[in-house]
């Protein structure tokens, strides 16, 4: 009995720390609708700053908590700087575009932390006055765990008071519900957004700082916490602080007891819980149906126009250049361009559901990975010829999309995105864990192309033909009734239903098609590298896809492949430099500020302006 009670307490302590990060994220998302990838970076900075303070001055029990608070405020101010210098400039960009900017911040912070605090992991001192353990039912429980158990509800109470007893809190709640209405009523949104960023970042910093006596401070912290924070927010229900707390407790306790029965469970538990909750309760535990909130001043999207003569010529010229690549006589150029082509197809298939379909997927890598693993496993286990293995890869990806998509299209907005993420992570963890069949993270080796396609030049042309064909096929579909229906469902589901389009069915079909195309890219990728590893279906791969689409311009049809080429070639060149992450991050920030419509979006704006001029 004592064991289970103290295990419960241990779970509560973990829950408190999760809650602190998630609360900040929830507030920022609720008001600004920004999916803030840099939230994990704020958490990590909080931990590092607190570590620096408590190791450089001799703090007493009171001083320790003051140091934690100081770290939180410092991180809050960093959040303010990010908001004022960066995000404020791009609120008018298409929805989700800010994601790209926060990704740039993540990269910059990673290198900055490495430069400031060095590569070694840090173990901070234990909290003064709370450095021992007490016996509860005969079991040892660290005093600091008890402090954490108190801190969580304390912060929850403080936020509740702030939200319900102050004018600022009322504004935040109003903005979470309907931002445009609040603006129409004359509330100063600039100040509100900045202050919300301060509060959110400070909470993340507090979460990180409070973990110093429990956790090692390391350069991995940022990426480790970010997915978890999102899961907590979504399971709790967007904008619901109490929901986030309940979700944190639920997940931490399931983990604390789950590992007693199935020690490997931690790997996938969060995402399993999220998938189940979202399928049963589409808006999380305590969330309410999402209001359709567009960004301030966002223009309704213009319908796609077929390419005019000039654009067709441009496309043909680009294609001719691609055909001419092998003439350069540089083997590596072909290898690099195979990567670019496959990523272009991957990004285009993501854009197919994200742009015209209005379904932003955070888990598109799942289908890329299913394609790659499908092809690799057929090759490895059944010795299938390459041609059939590629077809098998496509089928595997499509089958995955049939199942996952059926659940996903029942949701919308960020809940849709998070459910795709949950399924992708579940798929990833199956591949990762099931070592006997998939090779686990040692992957599947020796998946090289068939003899006839093994020369670089033949494989290049094969890739070029298949990717160009697939991209043109998707483009064609968007001008066919199928694509019009898809866009109708995005722009006005009600009207689309009224004229007889089964929106959900259409979205499901779109999802499956995008999955299959992504699977084609994945299976070719397997053959181009000769091996597959689980990282190609992990979160960073999905994020890369989003970055490519956003960089190119989500509202354009050629954006995804232009974005993919730009992103991959930039990364390829910049990763040769010493501080390449910071340089890549700054480059992204620069592109984000200069081209808030994406690269192609910017070009199109310029062209149409030229045309409008006499």
């Amino acid at each position: 009995m004592g064991f289970y009670f103290t295990q419960f307490l241990t779970g509560l302590a973990s829950a408190s720390s999760l809650f602190l990060v998630a609360a900040g994220l929830s507030i920022i998302f609720g008001v600004t609708r920004i999916v803030n990838l840099a939230h994990g970076s704020f958490y990590m900075l909080g931990a590092y700053i607190a570590y620096s303070i408590v190791t450089s001055i001799d703090v007493g029990p009171v001083g320790f908590w003051l140091a934690v608070l100081a770290a939180a405020v410092a991180v809050g101010l960093i959040g303010v700087a990010v908001e004022m210098l960066l995000l404020r400039r791009i609120y008018h960009a298409p929805e989700m575009f800010q994601l790209l900017a926060t990704f740039g911040v993540v990269l910059v912070v990673q290198d900055a932390a490495l430069a400031i605090w060095g590569p070694a992991d840090k173990l901070g001192p234990r909290a003064p006055g709370l450095d021992g353990a007490v016996r509860i039912f005969g079991e040892l429980v660290p005093q600091y765990d008890l402090a954490m158990i108190v801190l969580g509800p304390l912060v929850l109470g403080a936020i509740w008071l702030l939200f319900h007893k102050t004018r600022w809190g009322t504004l935040v709640r109003a903005a979470t519900q309907d931002r445009q209405m609040l603006g129409a009523l004359g509330a100063n949104q600039k100040v509100l957004f900045t202050s919300v960023f301060f509060a959110g970042a400070a909470l993340a910093g507090l979460g990180g700082a409070a973990q110093v006596p429990r956790e090692a401070v390391s350069l991995f912290t940022d990426l480790n916490i970010i997915a978890e924070a999102f899961v907590i927010v979504v399971v709790g229900g967007m904008g619901s602080i109490l929901g986030a707390f309940l979700a944190a407790v639920l997940i931490s306790e399931l983990n604390a007891f789950g590992i007693l029965i199935f020690p490997q469970i931690t790997l996938v538990l969060m995402f399993l819980v999220m998938a189940v909750i979202l399928v049963v309760r589409p808006w999380g535990l305590l969330g309410r149906p999402e209001f359709i909130a567009r960004g301030p001043g966002e223009m309704p999207e213009a319908p796609y126009r077929p390419a005019d003569g000039r654009l067709k010529l441009l496309g043909l010229a680009a294609l001719l250049l691609l055909v001419a690549v092998p003439l350069a006589g540089d083997d590596f150029l072909m290898v690099l361009m195979v990567d670019v082509l496959l990523l272009a197809l991957f990004a285009t298939s993501l854009h197919f559901i994200m742009g015209p379909g209005g379904m932003v997927s955070f888990g598109h890598a799942a289908y890329f990975g299913l394609g790659a693993y499908g092809a690799a496993m057929l090759t490895k286990l059944l010795d299938t010829p390459m041609e059939l293995a590629v077809a098998g890869g496509i089928a595997a990806a499509a089958a995955g999309a049939v199942v996952f998509g059926w659940f996903c299209v029942r949701l919308s907005g960020v809940y849709f995105a998070m459910l795709t993420l949950a399924f992708a992570q579940i798929g990833w963890s199956v591949v990762f864990q099931w070592g006997d069949v998939t090779g686990g993270d040692d992957g599947i080796l020796n998946v090289w192309p068939a003899a006839w396609a093994s020369s670089r030049i033949v494989f290049y042309y094969l890739t070029l033909a298949l990717c160009t064909g697939a991209i043109l096929f998707m483009r064609h579909l968007l001008y066919a009734p199928f694509g019009y229906g898809l866009r109708a469902g995005r722009d006005s589901p009600l009207r689309a239903e009224a004229i007889g389009i089964d929106v959900r069915m259409r979205q499901w079909h779109g999802f499956i098609l995008a999955g299959a195309m992504s699977g084609l890219a994945g299976s070719l990728y397997a053959f181009s590298k000769g091996s597959v590893f689980p990282d190609i279906m992990a979160i960073p791969q999905s994020i890369d896809g989003l970055m490519m689409v956003l960089l190119g311009g989500v509202k354009t049809l050629s954006g995804p492949y232009v974005g993919a080429a730009a992103f991959h070639l930039l990364e390829d060149q910049i990763s040769r430099l010493e501080f390449w992450r910071a340089i890549l991050g700054v480059t992204i920030l620069f592109l984000v500020i200069v081209f808030p419509q994406g690269l192609v979006g910017f070009l199109r704006q310029r062209l149409s302006r030229d045309e409008a001029a006499p």
């Binding site: 604390a256 590992i259 931690t266 990763s575």
Partner: protein
């Protein structure tokens, strides 16, 4: 736009090479790939190590080939921790940079991806850091060699030491990925091979770098094992050691830790480091051999810090590359591969070792000892160096595991 520029540049480069062919062809180019930014804590010391060896070799004029001295040039690149990237970079190093051979890797999956690439493209690959047993056994191939003592070797060293204590009820905690699984599997196998009686009563598998240490420690404690085998490293180890100490997990229990004694993992624990754990590691402060003293003095002078395990791996890696080039007397891959088989390195700071012809694993060993805290710093005591050659399975077993070349 891209292609013409490249064409022009390429033509220009060719022209330059053509004109000054003799001079630049002197240098031997080596390609090195690693996840420097992803794992700086382990790879910065490693890079220091090979850079130091490289400069020492080049200060002597380089390696002797055809009676002439030729300098080594290392082209090093960051793979961002992605196997696909590593393969792409390998393609570039081989086809554009014309490297004579490839080296590097830290994560096992990147090591495996590069090994498979080496096999397919017939280029020599020397894996420095990757520990995966599959690299030289199940997935071994003619073109791949590995320097560092593998998971199996280090686990076998620990098992030999731990079996003497006669504990029978064991629990294991390991990160939930290939290295953790191999680490536990190899230890179980090696322990059973000692003939000691053993019963595994509990296993915990937290995700790598994401341990929720409290519940894990309590789950282990509840099983009441007599001894614990630990494969955690990095931030996971720090959290586990702290929580375990706070919750009394280690009281009256024997703990065995794979790699725990390596400065990279042990030092951040400072005065909270656990005492009395049986570990593999690197007691740089206490090794007193002429070769190591020279290495340590030069390292400390140059980098103003002490060497880590990675430093010695990086250093030995470069020594091996220079030695194989000299022995082969050529940059031809097949000749290099033949020269690697049985290549002996006599004067390394860790002692002599050789690359076994049978499975391409080097016999570089590791130090086994017990953890202790001296003057507020964690150290290894009662340690001894274990020659890797003694901790490998019998030849017939190796032949069965390894596919024919």
């Amino acid at each position: 736009m891209r292609i013409p520029t490249r064409l022009v540049l390429g033509a220009a480069a060719l022209a330059v090479v053509g004109m000054s062919g003799a001079a630049s062809a002197q240098d031997i180019r080596i390609g090195e790939i690693n996840s420097y930014k992803r794992l700086p804590a382990f790879l910065d010391p490693y890079r220091n190590g090979w850079e130091m060896a490289l400069d020492e070799i080049n200060a002597e004029g380089g390696v002797s080939m055809d009676g002439k001295k030729r300098k080594l040039v290392v082209i090093t690149r960051d793979d961002a921790g992605k196997p696909g990237n590593a393969v792409k970079i390998a393609e570039e190093l081989v086809s554009r940079e014309n490297v004579a051979l490839l080296a590097g890797g830290f994560l096992s999956n990147i090591g495996l991806a590069l090994a498979d690439f080496a096999k397919q493209k017939k280029v020599l690959y020397l894996a420095g850091e990757p520990l995966s047993d599959a690299l030289v056994w199940e997935s071994g191939n003619r073109y791949t060699f590995r320097l560092r003592p593998s998971t199996y070797m280090q686990a076998a060293m620990l098992a030999e030491e731990a079996a003497k204590a006669g504990k029978t009820k064991w629990a294991a905690v390991a990160p939930n990925y290939a290295y953790g699984k191999d680490g536990v599997g190899a230890y179980k196998k090696a322990f059973a091979a000692t003939g000691a009686k053993v019963e595994w009563i509990e296993e915990q598998w937290p995700p790598v770098f994401k341990i929720d240490a409290g519940p894990v420690v309590r789950a282990l404690e509840q099983a009441k094992p007599e001894a614990i085998y630990n494969v955690l490293f990095g931030p996971d180890l720090l959290k586990f050691a702290r929580e375990g100490k706070l919750r009394g997990l280690f009281e009256g229990r024997m703990v065995v830790g794979l790699l725990t004694g390596e400065p990279e993992y042990l030092d951040p624990l400072k005065d909270e480091a656990p005492e009395g754990w049986i570990v593999t590691g690197y007691p740089w402060y206490a090794i007193d051999t002429p070769a190591h003293n020279k290495f340590r003095a030069a390292y400390e002078k140059r980098f103003k810090t002490y060497p880590r395990t990675g430093s010695i791996v990086g250093y030995n890696l470069m020594l091996s590359l220079a030695a194989v080039l000299e022995k082969a007397g050529s940059t031809d891959t097949e000749k290099l591969v033949d020269a690697m088989k049985g290549l002996k390195i006599e004067d390394s700071p860790s002692g002599p070792f050789e690359y076994r012809a049978i499975d391409h694993q080097s016999t570089m060993g590791a130090w086994v000892g017990r953890t202790a805290v001296r003057d507020g710093k964690p150290v290894m005591v009662d340690w001894s160096y274990r020659d890797g050659a003694k901790y490998l399975p019998p030849d017939e077993e190796v032949r069965k595991m390894r596919p024919a070349d």
